[in-house]
């Protein structure tokens, strides 16, 4: 195996763009949620559940969480590219991160839509 520096993967723009788009989605959601909490603060467990029981709220929360995980993936890979220089270790860590983010996504669907079964 030659010890030559290899670059030229011809990707990167999409991730950079996704990082920005997901950041905007998260900011919009957080502002929106903060406004809702200020206008009508939920006072007990039942009112919290009512707040998250509407379909659009669940979709918005899901969009937020997917943005968060996608954003985390781009950021975590950036950190690994900066600091972890052994390709094998970097690949292993990247796979572990992808797997956990996929699990988090499934888990968040479960949390957001499981309430429906309990409450409707």
């Amino acid at each position: 195996m030659v010890k030559r520096v290899v670059t030229g993967a011809h990707y990167g723009l999409r991730d950079w763009l996704a990082q920005r788009v997901t950041a905007v989605v998260m900011v919009v959601f957080v502002i929106f949620l903060a406004a809702m909490l200020l206008i009508s603060p939920p006072h007990d467990d039942a009112s919290w559940k009512t707040m998250f029981s509407s379909r659009w709220m669940r979709i918005a929360s899901f969009l937020f969480l997917v943005s968060l995980f996608w954003h985390a993936w781009v950021g975590m890979r950036n950190i690994l590219m900066d600091y972890v220089h052994a390709t094998g270790i970097r690949l292993t860590l990247q796979i572990l991160i992808i797997l956990s983010l996929v699990i988090y996504t499934v888990w968040s669907v479960e949390i957001l839509w499981a309430m429906e079964m309990q409450w409707r």
Binding site: V5, T7, G8, A9, H10, Y11, G12, L13, R14, D15, W16, L17, N78, M81, D82, Y83, H85
Partner: protein, 231 residues
């Protein structure tokens, strides 16, 4: 005036060390480089690069009290004592304040820092409108002193793969040139998670540039061009 200067001679020293100097400056010694020349007249073993002594050649880039800059255009008056001088960070030290710039120039060469135009040369010159020429302002002034790239953590971690702020500023200088015809190839060359996208826009480069240039903005414009051709 008191100085504490990084010393390392690989032939003699096992490890680098800091050497203190206490020297009396003459009234004409206005800039840090004048002081260094004064120190060198006392201790000629101190090694440093310098040439034009007026901020045009980019030879005497060094780390001055923790901040990269050119010794020849840094006034001694405002410096906190003892003035701590170290070689530019992140590059291999050859001796004292002299660093090996090979990696820096390899990255510079990798962006093809010359005009690419396949048309037959016209009889006089390739004309530009004043507006087209103005696009190059803030780009062509770079003197390749390496103050920016060696202030960039992304360049410290991946100097072999990340082009660095100086190289990317020059890459945009040719992307912005109306006479250049290799825009697509240049963008292809940079579309890489390491070569371009190691830049996280922390703007250390802008902070230290002795010529007051803005590599971060140039890098942003390269990304803009990529977005335009992709989206």
């Amino acid at each position: 005036m008191r100085f504490s200067i990084y010393r390392f001679d690989p032939d003699k020293d096992a490890k680098p060390y800091m050497q203190d100097y206490d020297i009396v400056l003459e009234p004409a010694d206005k800039m840090l480089l004048d002081a260094l020349v004064r120190i060198k007249s006392v201790d000629d073993s101190l090694s440093l690069r310098r040439s034009c002594r007026e901020g045009v050649c980019g030879s005497d880039g060094m780390n001055i009290n923790g901040r990269n800059g050119l010794a020849c255009i840094t006034p001694v008056a405002g410096l906190k004592e003892p003035v701590e001088l170290r070689p530019l960070p992140g590059l291999p030290v050859i001796r004292d304040l002299i660093v090996d710039m090979t990696q820096f120039f390899n990255q510079y060469h990798s962006i093809k820092p010359y005009l690419i135009n396949n048309d037959p040369p016209p009889e006089t010159e390739r004309l530009q409108s004043p507006e087209e020429r103005a696009e190059l302002d803030g780009l062509y002034e770079c003197i390749l002193c390496a103050c920016c790239s060696t202030a960039c953590p992304s360049f410290w971690w991946n100097p072999d793969k990340f082009v660095g702020p100086a190289g990317l500023l020059q890459a945009y200088r040719f992307l912005a040139d109306s006479r250049d015809q290799a825009t697509a190839e240049r963008l292809d060359n940079l579309e890489d998670p390491y070569r371009l996208f190691r830049c996280h826009s922390i703007m250390n480069c802008v902070d230290v540039c002795p010529k007051g240039l803005n590599p971060t903005s140039a890098i942003g414009k390269i990304k803009d061009m990529m977005v335009k051709r992709t989206v």
